[in-house]
């Protein structure tokens, strides 16, 4: 897989090399500072950003005039099932969970990612250029398995880096727990980490043990999907006791332990639309949860339950807008869907800001990207302008003439 990824990157880099370009007239939210640069020129060479400045572009380079529009880095969805699910109720299009064989912590979704999923086209047309696609509960709870980082090129492989984080789910939802009490789930998780810690170099390796060792060795974060305050306190304790990196997915009641999460450097991938007591684990859900977490210093990213795959891009933009409406600063709203996910998964060296050396994943917007009525006008993935055509736009274009004829 690594080899394939390398090949894909090489080919695309070569293609991008032919497309050196610059964007002029940008209102550039670089996310390296809290304010935008107006009338900025962004130069992209060989797929990388080489400069962001108010100076005119180099001669003889293709120029895209942003016309004063907002320009941001590509968005990153931090917890999606892109490439793993196309139509959730059609089992033939669903590959996000193991039921037998390679299940548990060692389950690894990288081998199932479908780059031709129409959901990927839509996510890209909504400005998403990076995504973390993750598994759901396996037959060996609380473990779900490892997620893969996707780079949403149009054509070719999209798996950029597998095994970015190991996911577990801790809750009292009987639907996804065959072991019963959440206490048993925490005990199973601790026992598995104990075993991984105690492993000797000569021990037999299994997919499970490799995944667990990668957590205790600090190579990847443990992403815990959980919501209730008591479980969030357990997660904080787990991070402390094992010295591991922990990320929370969900965290409906995280605002109640915001300071402790910040002190433990635990990031939260929150659902910014969660404000109803949907379950007994989420009684404390409230719309200003992301804002309260950010105020306490917690790194906050966005994933909206239920729509994280088929509306990957639009949903996180709307969600970030809603977080801003409920007290988060605008720039932190942008960060929550761009640079914060990059930091959570350790790819901020190449993605998440408009700065020299970063990948040329850049989006020009027709309005405010946090207004869900806005959309991209241009999306660049590693310096290459990608098509914004989706199955949906083709359906629209097929039926629009008849609609316009009726209107007259």
């Amino acid at each position: 897989m690594k080899l394939q990824t390398f090949t894909a990157l090489f080919l695309l880099s070569a293609a991008a090399g032919a497309q050196n370009l610059s964007i002029v007239g940008a209102r550039a939210w670089t996310l390296t500072s809290d304010t935008p640069i107006d009338n900025a020129t962004i130069v992209i060479t060989d797929g990388k950003i080489t400069s962001v400045s108010p100076t005119p572009p180099p001669a003889s380079m293709r120029v895209i005039d942003a016309g004063g529009r907002i320009v941001t880095p590509g968005l990153m969805h931090p917890a999606t099932r892109l490439g793993l699910i196309e139509v959730s109720s059609a089992a033939e299009t669903v590959d996000h969970a193991a039921k037998a064989g390679a299940s548990g912590a060692g389950f690894d979704v990288q081998y199932a990612i479908n780059p031709n999923s129409v959901l990927i086209d839509l996510a890209r047309a909504d400005g998403v250029t990076r995504a973390l696609s993750y598994p759901s509960s396996s037959n060996t709870p609380p473990f779900a398995g490892s997620g893969s980082l996707l780079h949403l090129f149009d054509g070719g492989d999209v798996v950029e880096q597998p095994r970015m984080a190991v996911f577990v789910t801790i809750s009292n939802r009987s639907a996804n727990s065959t072991v019963g009490s959440r206490s048993a789930q925490w005990q199973l998780l601790r026992a598995a980490l104990d075993t991984a810690k105690a492993a000797t170099p000569s021990a037999t390796r299994t997919p499970d043990s490799i995944a667990l060792e990668s957590i205790v060795q600090g190579k990847v974060p443990l992403a815990i999907s959980t919501n209730r305050e008591s479980d969030l306190r357990q997660a904080i304790g787990l991070a402390r006791d094992y010295g591991i990196r922990v990320v929370i997915v969900g965290g409906a009641e995280a605002w109640r332990v915001a300071d402790q999460l910040a002190a433990a450097k635990i990031a939260v991938i929150a659902d910014p639309m969660s404000n109803l007591p949907a379950s007994f684990d989420e009684l404390g859900a409230r719309l200003d949860n992301p804002a309260l977490l950010r105020k306490a210093g917690v790194t906050v990213a966005m994933s909206l339950d239920g729509v994280q795959s088929y509306n990957a891009g639009l949903s996180i933009r709307e969600g970030a807008g809603l977080a801003v409406a409920n007290g988060m600063s605008y720039v932190d709203g942008l960060r929550s869907i761009i640079s914060a996910p990059a930091e959570i998964y350790g790819i901020a060296d190449r993605f998440g800001t408009l700065a020299p050396g970063k990948d040329g994943d850049v989006v020009i917007w027709d309005g405010d990207p946090l207004e869900p009525s806005s959309a991209p006008t241009t999306v660049l993935v590693q310096g290459r302008e990608v098509s914004l055509t989706t199955r949906q736009t083709e359906l629209r274009d097929r039926y629009m003439p008849a609609v316009k004829a009726l209107r007259q």
Binding site: A90, S279, F280, N311, P372, Y399, M400, R407
Partner: protein, 466 residues
């Protein structure tokens, strides 16, 4: 006439029938009992004062816009809209450039029947619909509605003033809806919109055939679904005829009451509008054929993700559509959903509205409209805000047959209003104040007085009422 019974004379109707049946009197034969409401509304408006809202941008819900306008609320009604209105004996609300729209109407909700928090009990048997049979036209969803569902208060705080609670889409004939105001109450009758008609929820497509088919019961195909629907409507034709014969004095003995056939006969009479869950163009087309065969109109298709493919047919049938902006991807039958659906249907002349089907989406129907309009504008359609607001105000009001009472800001209409913190289609905008029948039922400046379900008491973790 039968509709008049629903407007509060229901109990009188019951008495009449009992009396007539007992004495065989020829003189005053009762109307057929199809739409008698034995459980009429007991709703009382909350305490109110006459109010003048000044310096606001008004989207009147019917396509009009007025800048720096004023609205006078008197005795629960809108008394005047304009400039320089009299200020004596009224509470003046300074709009300071904010926006006012009619209260948002959610024509498709399950609030009160899928009560939060969900538990395993709800997963086994929720109250969204009775699912023991594909025809449960005899069920009335109001008998399940729990006013303590926290979703009601959240809807109210986000500017929703009228909600139609529909049964679910598992049965083909899923039962009668109820229209409510999301005000604090201990029983549904205190929430019922006085005089609002009930609707019949129907469904087509995957849901019924999958659910009953999985149990080795009928239907297990689309054609099986339609056969069951036609059979039931044939029986309803006979039942209706028997009752009309009796009412006209042409037969002596009243027909035996049948609650399912009451509902279907009322559909055939046009007194109970049909709200039908359908996605595919082919399914909607088949159902419009059935409606034509039996001589009734489908008031609205709900979800209707492929409405944009058949606008001419929908327009001709006079059938509206209630749609999402961007929900799709979870079933094969809605894989052709596009965000332009509402805008394209609307542009082609189909009466179009947004719906929620969800307590989450139900807090932001104006944002649903904004997303759908944004997609439409990118497709070249002209959609000014004063038009887009109709999708969540006057259009659903008309479909609920309340178009002369709510959904529009004009003299004589109920004073159901939202004062928004800004332009209502922006994600950053919130409902600052909400009025129902002239009573201020929510004020964002006074969170401690916000309505909240009894469920929230004694649960400090539920935090701020926001």
């Amino acid at each position: 006439m039968t509709r008049r019974l629903l407007r509060g004379l229901g109990h009188v109707g019951v008495v009449l029938i009992a009396a007539v049946a007992g004495t065989s009197a020829q003189a005053a034969r009762p109307e057929p009992p199809f739409t008698i409401d034995p459980y009429p509304s007991t709703y009382q408006p909350l305490p109110r004062t006459d109010t003048l809202i000044v310096d606001v941008t008004i989207l009147d819900g019917a396509g009009g816009r007025m800048d720096q306008g004023e609205i006078l609320l008197r005795d629960g009604r809108i008394a005047a809209v304009g400039h320089g209105l009299p200020r004596d004996n009224v509470t003046v609300v300074q709009g300071k450039g904010r926006w006012v729209t009619p209260g948002i109407i959610d024509i498709h909700s399950h609030n009160g029947t899928y009560v939060l928090p969900l538990t395993s009990l709800d997963r086994k048997a929720s109250d969204v619909s009775e699912t023991s049979d594909p025809n449960v036209a005899d069920t009335w969803v109001e008998h399940a509605v729990n006013p303590q569902d926290p979703a009601f208060a959240v809807a109210l705080r986000s500017g929703v003033t009228t909600i139609q609670v529909l049964p679910g889409s598992t049965p083909l004939f899923a039962g009668r809806s109820v229209v409510v105001k999301p005000v604090p109450a201990t029983n549904v009758r205190a929430m019922k919109f006085p005089g609002a008609v009930q609707a019949l929820k129907m469904s087509c497509g995957e849901n019924a055939k999958s659910f009953f088919g999985d149990k080795e019961e009928a239907p297990n195909s689309r054609q099986g679904e339609i056969a069951i629907i036609r059979e039931a409507l044939l029986r309803a034709q006979e039942y209706r005829e028997e009752w009309h014969q009796y009412s006209r004095g042409k037969s002596k003995k009243p027909p035996q009451r049948d609650l399912k056939l009451d509902t279907l006969a009322a559909v055939l009479d046009g007194d109970i509008p049909v709200h039908m869950h359908c996605y595919r163009a082919s399914d909607m087309s088949a159902m419009m054929g059935v409606a034509q065969e039996f001589g009734f109109k489908i008031a609205a298709f709900h979800h209707a993700t492929e409405a944009y493919k058949i606008p001419a047919q929908l327009k001709q049938a006079g059938t509206c559509v209630a749609v999402w902006s961007d929900w799709w991807g979870f079933k094969m039958e809605l894989q052709d959903a596009i965000r332009e659906n509402a805008a394209m249907s609307d542009a082609a002349g189909v009466c179009t509205m947004m719906h929620s089907d969800s307590p989450v989406v139900g807090q932001r129907l104006q944002i649903e409209a904004a997303k759908a309009a944004g997609a439409g504008r990118r497709g070249g359609l002209n959609l000014p805000p004063e038009h887009v607001i109709t999708w969540v105000t006057s259009v659903p009001a008309k479909v609920l047959r309340l178009g002369d009472r709510i959904g529009t800001i004009a003299a004589g209409f109920n004073a159901d209003l939202v004062l928004w913190s800004g332009e209502p289609f922006s994600i950053y905008t919130k409902a600052d104040r909400v009025f129902i029948d002239g009573a201020q039922v929510y004020d964002s400046a006074e969170p401690a007085r916000s309505p909240e379900s009894d469920f929230g008491l004694g649960r400090p973790e539920m935090g701020g009422r926001q």
